[in-house]
């Protein structure tokens, strides 16, 4: 049995055992996460750590007599032991929930829909990871760069089910080779090859395509004083700003609790440029549409339309608490599968349009610096270069920026690229994340750098 089939069977058995243990008046929502991953961590083009992780997690929400209690556990893969563990878990939840106070905004699972999506993939054989993944990087090493990063591969599964009848399954077999080529001067090119079908020729092509960029980064570094510069933000750089719509972002709860940096946008006190639009768009196919209650989000939800607030991210709990209309958001009310609308700017002319200024390939370690004005600080990183008269002059000593997003995507947003890049989600805290974003590059006139 394939790993995906095995996990789907475990999900089914767990649901049977969990729902079968419920008594009258009780309700339950079940989230399932599973992976069978191989991780190859490398440095200097050599193996630093190599291993595998097989895990299946259950996350539960139990409801009885107005009480709500969450719980989590992992499944061992032993069918009998797991069935007993599930039944025991429900008994413990029943006992512990009875001690809790009533949940004033309890929303019982009500979803009844069913869905099933499964995507197969082709991964390198584990016995050939060195030849397939690392040896092509020798081209970078020969160019004087250290080849550093992580290759992760294998199936990742998600499921959700509720005692109200909802049952959803999403399984995909994916890889992501997240890598950097680091020069002795500290400059680097960073990229990620991700997908379902590993293609060794394409992998080698992507690596060698970066060699010219490395050459430019070997030039002497230019130290720029703080100030305002014209900037081209690559799609990777733009992508780093997108989580600020999730983090103290467009959540209904955050707005109501004084924790949304976008309150002025929502209240109509401020707007972004008409060139800027953002949506949640599951047509990207990179992650499931269902949430932990088994609710299915609309395929597309406009969040910012032509610079103006369009919709908040609203969970069923927030909907009940604040009288808002829910849109099947998960309880954390973040943006899933973000998609920034393309513009009409020809990306091939980015250097020419930039003229004299900074080409920013990547930014690093962003954080809110002034919440009320939506100001974000962070650093330039990797292959950022100084451009004069449309030509690359030299890499820069990294700069700190501190800029309000109302300005960055407001009066300073000169153009939005026509071509968008899909940036795969490669996070792996606890388990490998799914998803990604679709973002264009952007030309900014006068981005503020402070250090």
């Amino acid at each position: 049995m394939s790993a995906k089939k095995d996990m789907e069977a475990r999900f089914g058995r767990a649901c049977d055992a969990l729902f079968g243990a419920l008594k009258g008046g009780e309700a339950l929502a079940v989230e399932f996460g599973g992976e069978d991953s191989t991780f190859l961590r490398f440095n200097h083009g050599k193996v630093r750590q190599l291993g595998s992780v097989e895990r299946v997690d259950l996350s539960l929400r139990f409801y009885a007599n107005g009480r709500t209690l969450g719980s989590g556990a992992n499944l061992s893969g032993d069918a009998d032991a797991d069935a007993k563990a599930c039944a025991d878990l429900v008994a413990k939840l029943r006992e512990r929930a009875a001690l809790l106070p009533e949940d004033p905004y309890q929303v019982l699972p009500a979803a009844t829909g069913n869905s099933r999506e499964e995507f197969s993939g082709r991964m390198p054989d584990a016995s050939r990871l060195v030849e397939e993944v690392l040896e092509p990087g020798d081209a970078l090493e020969r160019a004087g760069a250290d080849f550093v990063g992580l290759h992760a591969q294998g199936p990742v599964c998600r499921g959700a089910a509720a005692s109200s009848g909802a049952r959803h399954w999403f399984a995909t077999e994916i890889f992501a080779t997240d890598w950097s080529a680091c020069l002795p001067n500290g400059k680097a090119v960073k990229s990620c090859y991700a997908g379902r079908e590993w293609d060794g020729a394409e992998w080698r092509r992507q690596l060698t395509a970066e060699l010219p960029r490395l050459e430019a980064l070997n030039r002497p570094e230019r130290i720029l004083p703080p100030g305002a510069y014209r900037v081209w933000l690559s799609p990777d750089a733009v992508d780093a700003f997108v989580p600020f719509f999730s983090r103290m972002g467009l959540s209904e709860r955050a707005y109501r609790e004084g924790s949304s940096a976008w309150a002025a946008l929502r209240d109509g006190r401020k707007t972004l440029a008409a060139k800027f639009s953002l949506a949640q768009d599951f047509s990207l196919g990179a992650e499931p549409r269902f949430n932990e209650l088994g609710e299915l989000a609309p395929e597309r939800l406009s969040l910012v339309e032509a610079g103006k607030f369009a919709n908040a991210i609203v969970s069923s709990r927030s909907a009940k608490q604040y009288g808002a209309v829910p849109n099947a958001a998960p309880d954390w009310e973040g943006v899933r599968s973000p998609s920034v609308a393309p513009g009409d700017f020809d990306d091939g002319k980015a250097l020419e349009a930039l003229g004299t200024g900074l080409y920013v390939s990547n930014v690093h370690y962003l954080n809110w610096s002034d919440f009320d004005s939506a100001r974000v600080t962070g650093m330039t990183r990797f292959a950022c270069v100084w451009v004069e008269d449309g030509k690359i002059v030299s890499p820069i000593k990294d700069l700190r920026f501190d800029e309000s997003l109302y300005r960055l995507w407001g009066d300073k947003l000169e153009a939005v690229g026509r071509r968008r890049s899909f940036i795969a989600e490669t996070g792996s805290y606890v388990s490998r994340d799914l998803g990604g974003s679709l973002v264009p590059g952007m030309l900014i006139d006068g981005m503020t750098f402070t250090l």
């Binding site: 961590r41 193996v47 291993g51 595998s52 992992n74 001690l99 992760a152 004084g258 370690y365 650093m379």
Partner: protein
């Protein structure tokens, strides 16, 4: 589940393996939160599994499974061996068994006897406290969160290691958000999740916690009418709850040996520190003494041995401002030839251990708080971190705090809102001109230090006295 791990290690070691180790981890956690005088959330969580590690021709391979069944572990050991065999064709370093010591030790968090409150009792307190915090109509949110967990780690190997460690961790926090017009201010207890400590019931002083939660709410309201922090250069006095972040970002990460060796360049970043700097680099002023100390009571990253079995002990890393030792595990020490500490740790059973900072502390100095404040002609006091950002070489940083007070002519003055500062790590630490004595020393910790590929999050502890830095760029918000 009770198993004889040492026996299992011998049974599952596959033919051809030069060494085999097993690390079982069981996390048992619970949390409750109340918001605005009402129940908000409660959960219980258990996560248990085992990582099998195998050494083959200088390369470790690992396989992690959520099972203690000998059949499942035998299959995992074979998978680990196969991966070690693959990696041995091109290893970054050829390791041997010396990086997996045969340590035998049993350890548990020291805590006062006494029953821990149940989730119902914690909920009742949190509901009462958050209701009381909403004494002003300007408070738009009040919450109180408890997080309690036990982490049981057992480690055994074919070479005789046998380690059993049990860590008890309690974290709690109150958050008050105040709003007036378009202005928002928030206060927490020493920054988000700063009060994450090892211990038991002695950490839960309910009357004191309620007083502090009320103080947080009052200060959030107070900040609404405070002026912005000035934007200029002046002396900066940092409370221990902000020193925690300053030490973590601008000392801890840069002196991690795996970063210096380049392992993190694709993710968390590198370091401005080079291998040749060890023993010679003037990191800070002569008042700066930084220690790795896994034995401080209540500090969250205290332990007897790290996750590869290296016995942990206190080491001075920065001595009178000179960097003398790095945060490097046995593996990093073998690769670099430099001295290190026992800090190879993993998030849980499903991640391989890497270099971590654990408890990293600034040793107390000789100045009382009054002496420190009295020595500042024009300055600002800042406490409780709210924003943090630093470059990938750990040089250019910008940090923001929740609460500030001006210091003028040796006296604490009016409150200022949105206090921020920025600088460059080494220059900043060289401007350290006062270090508080033991009376100003406080222990804090956080459970969410992120690092590694695949990613890992882990407990770190930081203890520090109040410190003063000369001539720092400070600034406020835009409102």
């Amino acid at each position: 589940m009770s198993v004889n791990l040492k026996q299992l290690a011998g049974e599952i070691a596959p033919p051809g393996a030069e060494w085999c180790g097993l690390r079982r981890v069981r996390l048992s956690a619970r949390a409750v939160q109340a918001k605005d005088g009402r129940f908000d959330l409660a959960y219980d969580y258990v996560d248990e599994g085992c990582m099998v590690e195998v050494l083959y021709r200088g390369q470790f391979g690992y396989a992690a499974v959520a099972s203690l069944d000998s059949g499942a572990l035998s299959r995992a050991a074979l998978r680990a061996l196969e991966l070690a065999r693959v990696g041995s064709a091109r290893p970054v370093h050829a390791f041997d068994r010396s990086v997996r010591p045969d340590t035998v030790v049993k350890w548990e968090t020291r805590r006062a006897p006494g029953r821990l409150p149940g989730s119902d009792e914690l909920c009742a307190f949190a509901i009462d406290a958050t209701r009381a915090m909403r004494s002003s109509e300007k408070i738009v949110r009040s919450d109180f969160l408890f997080e309690l967990r036990d982490e049981e780690m057992e480690y055994a190997s074919t070479s005789g290691a046998a380690i059993a460690q049990l860590k008890h961790v309690i974290g709690y926090n109150a958050t008050a958000v105040a709003r007036e017009g378009s202005l928002t201010q928030r206060r927490t207890l020493n920054g988000p999740r700063g009060r994450t400590l090892q211990g038991g019931a002695e950490l839960l002083d309910f009357p004191a916690m309620k007083d502090e939660a009320l103080m947080a709410a009052a200060q959030a309201v107070e900040l609404l009418s405070a002026p912005e922090c000035p934007s200029d250069r002046r002396d900066l006095v940092l409370a221990p709850d902000q020193m925690m972040l300053q030490i973590h970002e601008s000392v801890g990460h840069p002196i991690e040996l795996d970063r210096i060796l380049g392992d993190e360049r694709n993710f968390a970043g590198s370091s401005f520190v080079r291998l040749e700097d060890l023993g010679t680099l003037r990191y800070g002023s002569e008042l700066m003494n930084i220690s790795f100390d896994p034995g401080v009571e209540s500090e969250p990253a205290s332990y007897a041995a790290d996750d590869i079995g290296n016995p942990a002990r206190k080491e001075l890393l920065i001595d009178k401002g000179i960097l003398v030792r790095a945060l490097g595990s046995l593996e990093s020490q073998a690769r670099s030839g430099k001295a290190g500490v026992a800090n190879q740790r993993a998030q849980l059973w499903f991640r391989a251990p890497i270099d971590r900072m654990a408890n990293l502390n600034l040793e107390p100095g000789a100045s009382s708080l009054d002496e420190i404040i009295g020595s500042v002609e024009k300055g600002v006091w800042m406490e409780a971190n709210r924003s943090w950002s630093i470059d990938d070489y750990r040089n250019k940083f910008q940090f923001g705090c929740e609460y500030g007070r001006l210091i003028e002519n040796g006296k604490l003055g009016k409150v200022v809102r949105n206090p921020n500062y920025r600088g460059v790590s080494s220059g900043f630490w060289r401007s350290l001109f006062k270090v508080g004595d033991a009376s100003t020393f406080r222990v804090y910790g956080t459970p969410n230090c992120g690092k590694g590929e695949p990613n890992q999050v882990i407990d770190v502890g930081h203890a520090s006295p109040v410190c003063a830095f000369r001539d720092v760029e400070v600034f406020g918000g835009e409102a």
